[in-house]
């Protein structure tokens, strides 16, 4: 079955610390992988995506993610977190352009000064 697992429901980090949010997926075909961020009361903003090619992808706001096929993972990283990064982060997997997205349950990031 197709699924996305985000093992960490809630993560707290200090401002300036590094961050890694975990995402594991199960998908029968070639996966297209996405990370979205949702600030309180807002819609979803695309941080980055992986379709093919270089397995390390760069996104907006200083985020990057690495696709590891052998581990079925697509973890999101940021070397130095800012207070404005506090939000809910969703990993999602899809297939061809006409396929639906399957979302993980999300990780809530809290940033302390």
């Amino acid at each position: 079955a197709q699924s996305v697992t985000q093992p960490d429901i809630h993560i707290t980090v200090s401002e300036g610390a590094s961050l890694e949010l975990r995402c594991n997926y199960s998908y029968g075909a070639t996966p297209y992988l996405f990370w979205y961020v949702q600030s309180p009361g807002q819609g979803l903003q695309l941080l980055l995506k992986y379709f093919s090619g270089d397995t390390l992808v760069q996104g907006i706001k200083g985020f990057e993610a690495e696709f590891k096929r052998s581990q079925s993972s697509f973890n999101l990283r940021k070397p130095s977190v800012h207070w404005s990064d506090a939000a809910e982060y969703f990993c999602a997997v899809g297939g061809a352009s006409t396929d639906k997205l399957i979302f993980g349950t999300g990780t809530r990031l809290q940033v302390f000064p």
Binding site: Q42, L44, K100, F103, T105
Partner: protein
């Protein structure tokens, strides 16, 4: 990427009534997707809307409860019918303008049913 205008942004409705949510896209897209995000939860796909054909509903969602219109390639509506408090959620529309762009989401409609 596409720009989506979704409205209303929020509403408080009486149980038993219906609410229609609109999504306008700034470019033509083949498919539009409607999602529900229940409080504190992730996103669940309700249905996929193609222009000129009936929407395709996911398991657990039915047309009588969530009728969808897709009159052209830039617009779609989702109606939440005969609402109950369990329908209180954020409803979002989404499109992918060109393959590889990534999916763009509307800002969402926060619905509260009282």
């Amino acid at each position: 990427s596409a720009v989506i205008s979704q409205k209303p942004s929020r509403d408080i409705c009486q149980r038993g009534t219906s609410l229609t949510i609109q999504c306008q896209v700034d470019s033509q897209v083949t498919m539009m997707f409607w999602y529900r995000q229940q409080p504190g939860q992730s996103l669940t796909l309700i249905a996929t809307a193609n222009q000129g054909s009936e929407a395709t509903y996911e398991s657990g969602f039915v047309i009588d409860k969530f009728p969808i219109s897709r009159p052209n390639l830039t617009f779609s509506t989702l109606t939440v019918s005969n609402m109950s408090p369990e329908d209180s959620s954020i409803y979002l529309c989404s499109v992918e303008k060109d393959f590889g762009d990534g999916y763009t989401f509307g800002s969402g409609t926060r619905l509260t049913v009282v």
